[in-house]
Symmetry: D2
Amino acid sequence: MNQDFFQEFDENPWFKDAGVYARTVMTAESLPHILDEAIRRAFAQHGPAFVTIPNDLANKEIPADGYYSAAANFAKPVLGPGPDEQIKQALDLISNAKKPLIYVGQGTIGAADEVMKFAKKFQVPVITTALGKEIIPYDFEALLGSAARVASKPANEALQETDLMLFVGSNYPFAEIMFKPDVKFIQIDSNPQVLGKRHKTDVAILADAKKSLQRFIELGSDSAPSDWYAANVDNVANWHQYNDDMMNRTDGELRFEPAFKEINRISEDDAIYSIDVGDVTQNAVRLLKVNGKQPWITSGLFATMGVGLPGAIAGKLSYPNRQVFNLAGDGAAAMVMQDLSTEVAYHLPIINVVFSNDALGFIEDEQEDEDHEWFGISLPQTDFAKAAEAQGMTGITVTKVDQMKAAFDKAVELNKAGKPVLIDVKITNERPIPVEKLTLDPDKYDQQTIDAFKKRYYADNLIPLSEFLKRHNVK
Amino acid sequence: MNQDFFQEFDENPWFKDAGVYARTVMTAESLPHILDEAIRRAFAQHGPAFVTIPNDLANKEIPADGYYSAAANFAKPVLGPGPDEQIKQALDLISNAKKPLIYVGQGTIGAADEVMKFAKKFQVPVITTALGKEIIPYDFEALLGSAARVASKPANEALQETDLMLFVGSNYPFAEIMFKPDVKFIQIDSNPQVLGKRHKTDVAILADAKKSLQRFIELGSDSAPSDWYAANVDNVANWHQYNDDMMNRTDGELRFEPAFKEINRISEDDAIYSIDVGDVTQNAVRLLKVNGKQPWITSGLFATMGVGLPGAIAGKLSYPNRQVFNLAGDGAAAMVMQDLSTEVAYHLPIINVVFSNDALGFIEDEQEDEDHEWFGISLPQTDFAKAAEAQGMTGITVTKVDQMKAAFDKAVELNKAGKPVLIDVKITNERPIPVEKLTLDPDKYDQQTIDAFKKRYYADNLIPLSEFLKRHNVK
Amino acid sequence: MNQDFFQEFDENPWFKDAGVYARTVMTAESLPHILDEAIRRAFAQHGPAFVTIPNDLANKEIPADGYYSAAANFAKPVLGPGPDEQIKQALDLISNAKKPLIYVGQGTIGAADEVMKFAKKFQVPVITTALGKEIIPYDFEALLGSAARVASKPANEALQETDLMLFVGSNYPFAEIMFKPDVKFIQIDSNPQVLGKRHKTDVAILADAKKSLQRFIELGSDSAPSDWYAANVDNVANWHQYNDDMMNRTDGELRFEPAFKEINRISEDDAIYSIDVGDVTQNAVRLLKVNGKQPWITSGLFATMGVGLPGAIAGKLSYPNRQVFNLAGDGAAAMVMQDLSTEVAYHLPIINVVFSNDALGFIEDEQEDEDHEWFGISLPQTDFAKAAEAQGMTGITVTKVDQMKAAFDKAVELNKAGKPVLIDVKITNERPIPVEKLTLDPDKYDQQTIDAFKKRYYADNLIPLSEFLKRHNVK
Amino acid sequence: MNQDFFQEFDENPWFKDAGVYARTVMTAESLPHILDEAIRRAFAQHGPAFVTIPNDLANKEIPADGYYSAAANFAKPVLGPGPDEQIKQALDLISNAKKPLIYVGQGTIGAADEVMKFAKKFQVPVITTALGKEIIPYDFEALLGSAARVASKPANEALQETDLMLFVGSNYPFAEIMFKPDVKFIQIDSNPQVLGKRHKTDVAILADAKKSLQRFIELGSDSAPSDWYAANVDNVANWHQYNDDMMNRTDGELRFEPAFKEINRISEDDAIYSIDVGDVTQNAVRLLKVNGKQPWITSGLFATMGVGLPGAIAGKLSYPNRQVFNLAGDGAAAMVMQDLSTEVAYHLPIINVVFSNDALGFIEDEQEDEDHEWFGISLPQTDFAKAAEAQGMTGITVTKVDQMKAAFDKAVELNKAGKPVLIDVKITNERPIPVEKLTLDPDKYDQQTIDAFKKRYYADNLIPLSEFLKRHNVK
């Protein structure tokens, strides 16, 4: 195709705005340089680079002795721990706080030990972002989970009480809604552009999170056991009990929790979880009992539905020897179901789990909360097991609790034989408990309202943080 | 969600570049004006307008007494026939031409009678763009079809012979490749921006195509019967015979042609054809025996695969009482197969035909022609009938000619009962005849090469235009 | 410079958004096609097209036998008068209206006779957009001028009274502010995208303005003499008298009006006025006594200061034999004063008039009206005559009324000798009368307020429209 | 102005592409956050951020207790010296090199001592980018100057001989043209995106330049005195002599060099040089005898003419107590001469020097070299002294060498009195010596060609590097 014709079409502007680099190669000679630039920028800016290679160039020869090979040399800048002066200033603030929290994001990947050591030493409970789910082991006593709606009860409750936040390696976008404006605020980040972005800071430390937390631990003295910390530990235990009870339920219509029990049961020590967007994100963030070695992938910023399947494929291609899960609701699964073919064609033994409630549950709940007209939330029934079979993959349908174990055992067996599998779990459309609007505290709600809430969400044994604070004499 | 947060996200730049209008509504009060503007521009510029309405506005009231309601007044500008002086100048050129052609595009929709009358009166054979397939009835004696690769043999042959082109209502982008630079060139278009864009013009008439052709007919005298015209008519008849023979074949492995025979058979008088991209586009442009009243939709400019299914849905929603076909290859069908659900959920009785050869045939052929390495053209086998069943639609698989009639009869029956259906036709991956590289003319190729071509493409009875020109003494 | 390097720099995105076409030529072969495309689009879309030609191509040969030459064929589409049915519907509305107006924009350039004939026949006073200043002769009895702030008193007053508007060939952007929502509204435009854009329409006619007005005149009967029309004619005469009085003033500090008296005096029959942005736009729109043959150029949409000088250069280059004025305030003149050189270098005898009040008066007045802090409105004193001399142009400074005539006579003399000239008129910073907030009507304001207004603006003899309506018994 | 109207205008797309941030404030409440974000990004990305504040907001109150104040906390990330392992690897390469060079860019600002210590210790001559002119004192014996055209003779000659380059803190865009592909290449940069971008690297060190050079010095042993180094030192001395001779010339027509002699003479120890674009950039880069404490500003990437005056204003506003020069050619000076007013209005005592040759000399020389038609390079004569006077600034014209000293003494005197001044130096249009096409080496050119070159450029005593290499027995 001649160039005149080619010039009729502009480069896709989306590339330019969505990625860190976008270029159409015009001559074969410039191809190596452009590819090199694209790789370098993708590495440095941690984002997608787009290079368009016109078909015309498919036959052209390029000299082998490249002038450019920067990708081979790429190095990631690492900062130090930050100045002692700032760290001491921060330690002072922490020691004067009554209800401190540490809030960690993806910048603390690889620093779980430091976070947990910090939490115990200074008696500071831990919140992670939803995207940081994988960082801290589920069973750490003071892990409150994440905040807002894709979230856990203890985290939301603690955020309403806290008087100091240590915000580490995070760019959490809902800070204006979830964080109180008047708390003391200490921030550690390696990106100067993010320091102070979400909240006015009392101390802002430009540093590597892991090194900085280490230095906090070196420079600070052990705090005495704190009632605030203890109350939060109790609150976590109560919340975990609630979730365990739900996962162990065998009566009533089938809900999503028993499937998570099975997923936890069969999960290998270094399993990779690719989580789609919707109720499943919320449920996975609460119920997966991760151990700190299990990557957890989802679409955190744009909440793009359909991300579970490609994420799982990427996981399996990158780590062929690790167990990979794709967990998706039926809305998202339907958007990408034709790519089950890809798993079959490339022999990618992935465990695909679809939660089918014939609805876009997460959106339905938003509409309920905001009194919108219900709009666009019902889904046609789909037989995902059959859709898998149409593409050459074994499909299993589960409609009752007692079919669950056999289905997941079968999935493990097929995976071991090198085959992907899909389990379609047909669940009720009952709403998961909304931790962002807990209705448990008798100081805030009348008993009738509380009872209705408990009944709807099977929450008879769920206790508000306020109660634990009272028990521990925290004011 | 507060506005600060909202401002973190820019408008999708793709909207701005892809459409004729893109705006995010910021206040409820401005919604009516912005919607009105969007509608007006979409009409006037004949393209998509994008309005983003933030969820925040879902509850807001808007005064009912709108200030704007321009959509109700929209009118489409229509030009006149162009100046007589130019038309006479053009008629002179035509009467002096030995081998004139008229090449018509979408600007002649609604002007089929004028085109055919013109063709006969001035003895000028007709080419249409592929997108203009629907305009002129298949059985018009001098309809050569379309040019290039998604094309017909007579059109490509005539373009190499012609000495004058009347180019009407078209913006055909491959003109530089397909049109000879030195032919006389007369152009009629209602868009001043397109006059002369594709070829230097001898006469360029800014006019409404239909009115202008009428005026040509009024002002010009009848031409004497022309050997050039007669030779082309014979060539068309020979090409039609070749295609009929292929559609009637019952031996050998199953090819796509017998399915088109059935489609022609069951097509209603005002059927709508939504055609996907790939070999199916080429095959449909050659084999569908349209009558001038049957819309033919595809993705002509960007050749976007997967367009068949949404096109059919749009067709059925717009014209609920007309028969609608979705014809797609397996590559394209796989891209959008999860939307068969939509046909079921909205009770849209569409006839979906998938041609499965487990390959991206059109690209495979390009790679064959340009000596590329074969790359990315094989497809995993999919049982599309089962995929349809998974979504609640009847699916039928056809693997032999003798199953064909029953399958299409069943489709008609289901449609009449208000139900969509999918027929998966399992075909060989033999290449359709490449009319852009015909190897038939003994003046250009040796007999062995010609024989190999004829054998590969079942073309024993196919005769080159050169032979017809000789028979009619055209030099 | 090699292409790799070149690719480091993207095309200027501003080009893409600001113009109708933007392309960087990559090969010499594609240059003719791209230039042809650029010209065609610039003509068709009536806007700037940008072609970037890399320096690398400066030495390359291009074959002379161009394939493209569309510019030569360009034709502008012209519509008809619109359907009689719509015109009759509109005539009915007009004949039933009590206080009709016709509001004409640039789409009526060339149709002054039709507009004036229409106005008299149907007894409808005329408003023009500010950009349409040149269309209708100043001395037409029913020409109310333009509306809003760069405007005339009679137009603003009539808009508050009217019950029907005929809106012709205009896309006036302040319609929402200046037009009443409930008037009957008839629109004529050749651009379907503009019909209804500014106001809900009762009749929307897609048509050529001139042809359509002719048809109105043919189809409609003469209206009886109307009191509404007569009152407006009187109002215009009173307003003209006020302006004449101001232009004839000889006492007090020097104001801008006496300079306009001189400009009117020396203006040739086909003079071209290039008007800069600021108070000068407002003053020129009120005071220039144009005759319908004198083009009037300014920056109407973005109000770009500094536009007067380049506009005058463009005017003189396009029409070397016509008299050209550049009228600018000192703020705008300072922005582009280095281009006086260009007038000298290219021997362009232009009359440059600068009005110096050491302030950005137009903005100052906005800040006064909206109670802003005064900000960024004072200017350093500049000796523009000396600045002209520095660049080889004769500069004249006028500080008193009695120097005015000689200065302008000298300007004419220099121009006749082929030389440009600059006259720097040093004026007071008194505010021009704000017709958008007239304080004259005793039904609306107390006498003290009216008196203060009259005193400040020398408006003792200025009479509100309400008074003329009373005199003519219009209710 | 209501929002509907406002929405008619899109944000200026240029802002979005040219800056690091672009946002229109939509509500008064969001103003503090958006300003904070803009400041933070401007700091972090070292570029302009654009915030558009609609006039509507000018009266709105904003709560004083801001949530955001990130600008106060901004910190710049600083890396370490890089790994010892890499530094040792680099030291090995350097000790094995015969003709090493160190090439330093703006990343070494503040590291002049380290660069000079490195140069002497390892016997490595130094090249700076043109933008790095200010870093190393002019009189450092082994400072070769900068490369290419805005450049010095010794740097260009050394680049053709070198076998190893240490490339530090630079993103020099002409590397592909000026650097040999096969030299050993060591790079130090703090930006991972730049490592390897301009040349394949043998060692690529992600590090802070200053710290890394210190570590080189600590880890490496002293090199023995090197003939290569000595030859380059001699070459620098010869080049300096040539420039001194030119600056001291008193006969012939006035050239630019004597003015630079005066500028050097009156320059204070911490003077700031704002240099415009054109021949003046080239001349300043060669002739200003900077001492390492004198900032040197120009437009290095886009070579934007007219940058000298605003640069000087910025310099004076930022450092009111330092001497500031604006050095510009007449082409550039004419583009911005109306802003001399600004220096007067804000009492900014700047020394403006204009070099007037009535031509765009730099472009003229490019056209000479590339055999283009001469196009667009002549300028109208302007009396810049008078133009300054028109704006209230003292202007001085110099046409002879013997007026020079008095003019610059007067400038100093006026500056001391708090007043800006402009000196217009009227010079010949003789071409400055083209160091990128030296014609001196008898091994490469015949004597006649050499003689013509020497005559044209007064270069009788200029000696090629090849001669010094011979004298020092370097092969």
